[in-house]
């Protein structure tokens, strides 16, 4: 079954995962910049990370016939240090023309602090000035609802940003409607313990419809599953969803959103 993995942190995964994803029908993998599990000490560390995302990782994916795309930013978990964030954001423009860069992400909030808000606004301004797509991370657990509201306020306040060019990721039952009502795309992250399970993701599709929604695994250095999307497709099949409905959710929808960036191209 053909699918797109629109959010996976492959730098944290072993090469076997690329093989498994390719075998499962993955047609492309997209990798937002994120927190490495530790705070990087300087902007130079981010420069090297951006090189990894735009030079090395596409080559690793290509060995399995997988187009690899990336998103760039300083993630919210390292946004409390505004000076560092300014230095990192200043690095990004020179990477934006690289052939696999789709936009700015995953930006957003983590603990919903004032500095995180300031850095979010800086990223949104960067995206607006360079006409980039935006991929947004929403906070975890008890911080998600408040963080989603604050993020939506920031995005709505910038008239240069078209809602249809923004995906708000990690939605759950209490935030998905806020996002869809704002005209933005909603990402459902299939992740053990936090975010949502395959059955819950399908529940949300059945309740809120399948427009402007994608599913992703967000696999990273934590306990996570790079095959969560095809496993959820299987769950949809068990529930009697048609093949066309499944393909729309796991392939056509992400292709439609990502295709707003002309650099997003799939092999025939």
């Amino acid at each position: 079954m053909k699918y797109i993995e629109p959010h996976a942190h492959m730098v944290s995964r072993v090469t076997d995962d690329y093989a498994k994803m390719a075998l499962a029908g993955c047609a492309a993998v997209c990798e937002p910049a994120f927190w490495a599990g530790f705070d990087r000490g300087s902007a130079d560390g981010f420069h090297d990370y951006f090189c990894q995302l735009t030079e090395h990782e596409p080559k690793r994916a290509a060995k399995f016939g997988l187009p690899h795309f990336s998103w760039l930013c300083i993630n919210p978990k390292e946004s409390e240090d505004v000076k560092l964030a300014q230095e990192v954001i200043a690095l990004i423009p020179k990477f934006l023309d690289r052939p696999n860069v789709l936009g700015i992400g995953e930006i957003g909030l983590n603990k919903n602090s004032r500095n995180e808000m300031r850095v979010l606004e800086m990223h949104v301004d960067l995206a607006a000035r360079h006409n980039q797509l935006i991929l947004v991370h929403t906070p975890h657990l008890e911080d998600k609802l408040k963080g989603t509201r604050l993020i939506l306020d920031v995005l709505k306040a910038d008239q240069r940003i078209q809602p249809a060019r923004i995906i708000i990721d990690h939605v759950e039952e209490h935030t998905i409607k806020l996002v869809l009502d704002a005209g933005m795309w909603a990402g459902m992250t299939l992740y053990p313990e936090s975010k949502c399970s395959p059955p819950r993701a399908i529940d949300m599709v059945e309740v809120y419809g399948n427009e402007r929604i994608w599913m992703n695994c967000a696999c990273d250095w934590g306990i996570s599953d790079p095959l969560a999307v095809p496993k959820t497709a299987l769950e949809m099949r068990k529930r009697g969803h048609t093949e066309a409905a499944i393909e729309k959710l796991v392939f056509q929808n992400p292709a439609n959103f990502l295709g707003q960036c002309p650099k997003f191209k799939l092999a025939n």
Binding site: H140, L145, R200
Partner: protein
Amino acid sequence: MTRQQVLDLYFMDARSKLIDLAAFIDRVERAAGEEDFRMKSFREALNHLSNGHREKAKQVLLTFSDPTTGPIPAATTKAACGAYPGAPN
């Protein structure tokens, strides 16, 4: 899916998770010491499971959520703990 089909597909899984929840509460109650704000929210969330209202998953998530609206002064930690402590961060 019909209600019968939903039950056929998911009942055993849900039954297993319910027993895990019950065992977790037994474990907490067997242990020495006091419960904290997380268990308080947990018990509050459990109430949503047996009432007649729809959107139970949403109600549970809202129970655990920070209800305040403004940004906090500064992030002093990176991790979330799963329930709102009820005091300023």
